[in-house]
Symmetry: C2
Subunit: 288 residues, 2 copies
């Protein structure tokens, strides 16, 4: 349940980044194939354990909806539980569902993720996220209802996977890449004004050479940067993302934190805490 | 639960189109704002009522996930119920969620929609869909795990909304539009061979001038054509989509059928039945 507030998502994020001195977002990807055997039946417990471990050093968690949805209605109940637990632990929640649809359907997604839906029996609360990821392929009228919901929206601009090159890197007749056009759309939707916009951008940390250009095109957008660690991105390459200030980018890591004990050994929670703290320090030192 | 079968989705679809003599897909969009007041609290009952009304004249239903998700875990349970009801009524189910993500996340979406997920307590069945819609912005490696699941996959190529022009119609340096490049990707992913491919394409019926070109680029893909009726598409303009045969395209309508009583008056179920029958005849007469 969203706490009533007059602050925008970007304002809340900036305040939390300052309070936590952290720009780290920990991915919650309860993939049964990567979970400890004893927790495979209980993704809520697995995720809440990660929340406990990383809460001091992270500013947000990013649960991946697909792994919850794969468990049906019980998975959705687990998502609600994890979301509420993370918020009580002082973390923002960015629901990673990469939704994209039009008109009333887009509004229903926003209600499902972070709002509520009116029914004759009273309002049904959504999942309780503070922000979510969105896919811009359907254009402006698919993003506007998400933005109008008042939640933070992170629009896919240039993702971290190899296949991103198949579509997002296509060269347009104008000479720019498709992802640069998507970046312009994000900037337009974020509106004019000072400070950070509520419309952010997902940019893979695996291609840091794009970050300077992305920052030129989207001076006010918060960048969500997945791909550090397991996917090969290095935090020290991300400085251009932080040019407008410390809350202007969020560094996302999943396996690098949750699976830290596999490399260094020891207790998983202690290893995750140490990995989150190292990443927090590395990112914090990039901007002032 | 998917019935075990060695037939591909395209084979099953072709057989059902022949048996039903129908290429009509009825959208199940339980948008509270458009539902009769007395059913607003019970989307499963609303959707099952539509299934009853249209089953004789439709080959499939296309439930829109967002409206179910907006009701939380109860909405997901309702989705499962509607899916199972529609299949017992002899209809295929195309889950409209427009998912798009990578690797293990894409696999989890396929499990959630039409497969099952292993847990220590046994496999958890997915929603039970026969096919689903997918968003190709993340490229080939986001679509391959969906296709590998064995379900039918309808990839967004050129959607029916005005905002589609913002991104899908962008001209590439090669001279073609982005949607034409997406069409080539769909054709490649469908593989070589005779007959219809399991990888289909979503193409808005609102822009019939694209259908001939789309058919050239995707000779084996089943086209899913939304936008007839309320969005302005006319069934008589869709003939090029059916060039390879009667099962090569599916005409989707939602409000034109479910809300038929608003225009012509009378009992909603009888009006929906009559509207579905008219649409079925109009589409069937387009190809031989």
């Amino acid at each position: 349940m969203a706490v009533a507030t007059t602050l925008t998502f970007a304002d809340r994020l900036a305040a939390e980044v300052q309070r936590k001195q952290s720009q780290i977002v920990v991915g919650l990807d309860p993939n049964p194939d990567l979970m400890p055997v004893e927790l495979r039946g209980d993704i809520a417990r697995f995720c809440c354990g990660i929340v406990d471990a990383v809460a001091p050093h992270a500013v947000a968690v990013k649960p991946q909806l697909a792994f919850f949805e794969a468990l049906g209605s019980a998975g959705i109940a687990a998502f609600e539980q994890v979301c509420s637990y993370a918020r009580r632990a002082g973390l923002l929640v960015i629901a990673d569902g990469k939704r994209g649809d039009i008109g009333s359907t887009a509004r229903a997604y926003a209600q499902a993720l972070s709002g509520s839906t009116d029914t004759p029996a009273g309002p049904v609360a959504g999942l309780g996220a503070d922000a979510f990821t969105a896919n811009p392929l359907l254009g402006r009228d698919s993003l506007e209802p998400l933005i109008a919901s008042g939640s933070g929206v992170f629009v896919l601009v240039r993702t971290s996977n190899p296949g991103a090159a198949d579509v997002q890197d296509l060269e347009l007749a104008s000479g720019e890449a498709l992802w640069e056009r998507l970046a312009r759309l994000v900037d337009e939707l974020g509106g004019a004004g000072a400070g950070l916009a509520d419309v952010g951008a997902v940019l893979g940390a695996t291609r840091p050479e794009h970050l300077e250009r992305a920052r030129e095109l989207m001076p006010r957008a918060v960048f969500l940067l997945p791909g550090v660690g397991a996917q090969g991105g290095r935090v020290e390459d991300l400085a251009p993302a932080f040019a407008p200030g410390r809350a202007a980018a969020l560094v996302t890591a999943s396996r690098a934190i949750v699976g830290a004990h596999r490399e260094g050994g020891g207790d998983p929670a202690a290893a995750a805490l140490a990995a989150a703290e190292r990443l927090r320090e590395a990112a914090w030192s990039l901007a002032s």
